[in-house]
Symmetry: C2
Subunit: 341 residues, 2 copies
């Protein structure tokens, strides 16, 4: 049995911010799964800032998406046919579907999603890569401790929202940075941040100094830009900066907001800072411990999350472009297909 | 019994590179040691790049030298009078004598130097703070492993010379960067570097790429500037950069040589680099292990070192200014007083 797939492709590489012209559409007929393969109908697609890097030709931590190929990404879907012993039709799985209504995938690259723990979309958010990124960055890279002060950039985002709540549960002072009063109110009222600063503020650096009277021990970095500039002077001796993204500087934007490298180097030296890049793909060995802790928190209502949903695959490019400018609120998803029956 | 001390003071704070005008001279009569104190006659004074930072008023990792006060520094000397039970006249000790011919110091801040292990001046070099800096940075911060490639800036300096030889003993590929053909020849011929690049070369970045065909796992950073720019593109995934200095950028020099911060941040993220500041004062707990290993290497002739000696305290300011421009060759010392009898 063959199946059609509607897909969004990379039509051209963006110069600066992506535009609709960079995306193409195609419908292809998929071969039935060969031995070891599984056919999946996509229900949810995850949109993530890292995808911007894949659109460029530059050397990054992953191979660029080839021109004309489907955009890459992770999705949750339902198995429609399987030639892999671990999967059968009707199973809910997570895997690299790409921006596609359906895909035939290597079964070894899929994981089952248990719909009884939480809504299946969380496998792309709080219980997925963003959650694992938050948990590993906070625990393994930043070595967060009770009583310390942490600043979380993109505080209400898919990663930051989890970081903030995990840090609060550890008994840390938690300072969020987010875009606009609505997100900041949500950060404080719903996610339990002690304080949240709006990165649009002209006096962000002064606000940061006031919000962190005992200095900053950890800066959970995913944006770069003005937030980084405001944080560096307040870092404490022995501070840690896990770097998981730099969304303000993607697409070549806001480069003038950067501190000079020698000033940052001086802070690293004189304060003995540890600045460490982190990519979640390196840390799948920590998934079991993460799922145990964060899964329990979600079940018990101790960890909340928010999703922004774009309806239908055709809405994905605009949702992606909006997300890069901070237009999403929490995890950005695309509802690609119907819920499982 | 009182004793006179001739001292070099901080007469004014430098604007940019220090000049002779920034230094003053004074002769004072020291009180005899009180209970717990020790009078020391200085034999060797250490000159180190970190002293440049102390001349500024800016917040650094240590309090600035007050205007008019003696320049700070570490020296090796002979005990002339003691009111501390651990020390007696004739003992050779190391402590914070400052730029002074004699000092009365708290005995708890002194350590005895054993003249049987190596010449006593090595307590300021390979067996002192520079050696400990090298050893801790390589082992604890950079977690160096056999088979990896390391780049050592200031390759023939007091720290770099030890780093290079320790790395070679570990079985690493060792690339040095130094100023000029004489230092580079010494690095390869005497210190065992696999290759040494002259940082004056216009094509340093190209030479670096060629010298590190398998990429760079560790960059032992003490200079910043063009060397850092040449290293960053060659760093391997999971690379480590211990930052122990940034001499090219002291005094506000060479700031235009710096890469833009976003480019460095991108490398940190995509290559999962660990960039970590290190100051030796935090690591005195590692001294015993360091002395055991490096002391044995020096005794067995497996670790060599070189010294540049300025004669007499009056020569210290010029020697210091020269050192900041790379005029020294190996450890920069000042011979302040006669050898022990």
């Amino acid at each position: 049995m063959t199946q059609d797939a509607y897909r969004i492709t990379l039509a051209s590489r963006p110069k600066g911010n992506p535009t609709q012209d960079n995306f193409g559409r195609e419908t292809v007929t998929l071969d039935p799964p060969a031995k070891g393969q599984v056919a999946v109908r996509t229900i949810w697609l995850s949109l993530d800032p890292y995808m911007r890097g894949r659109m460029d030709d530059a050397k990054s931590y992953a191979v660029p998406v080839p021109l004309g190929a489907p955009m890459e990404g992770e999705g949750v879907g339902e198995v429609t046919a399987s030639e892999h012993p671990d999967f059968k039709p009707g199973d809910i799985v997570i895997g690299r579907t790409g921006w596609a209504s359906a895909a035939v995938l290597d079964g070894d690259g899929l994981r089952k999603v248990d719909p009884d723990i939480a809504p299946i979309s969380t496998a792309l958010g709080a219980l997925g890569m963003p959650g694992l990124t938050a948990w590993v960055g906070l625990n393994d890279v930043a070595e967060a401790k009770s009583g310390e002060t942490i600043v979380v950039s993109a505080a209400t985002g898919a990663v930051g929202g989890v970081v903030g709540q995990l840090a609060r549960a550890k008994g840390m002072r938690v300072i969020g940075v987010a875009g606009g009063p609505e997100k900041c109110a949500y950060a404080v009222d719903e996610l339990g941040y002690d304080v949240c600063l709006d990165h649009h503020a002209d006096d962000l650096a002064e606000q940061m100094a006031k919000a962190a009277p005992d200095g900053i021990d950890i800066y959970y970095e995913s944006v770069g830009g003005k937030t980084l500039s405001a944080v560096i002077p307040q870092m404490n001796i022995g501070g840690r900066i896990p770097v998981i993204g730099m969304i303000a500087w993607y697409s070549g934007n806001n480069l003038d907001d950067a501190l000079p490298l020698p000033a940052v180097w001086r802070a690293i030296l004189s304060k003995r800072l540890k600045v460490q890049g982190m990519i979640v793909f390196d840390h799948h060995d920590r998934r079991a411990a993460f799922e145990k802790e964060v899964g329990a928190m979600i079940r018990d209502g101790d960890l909340t999350y928010r999703e922004t949903v774009a309806e239908g695959l055709d809405a994905a490019p605009q949702a992606f472009m909006d997300m890069l400018k901070g237009g999403n609120f929490g995890k950005q998803l695309v509802k690609v297909g119907a819920d499982p029956s």
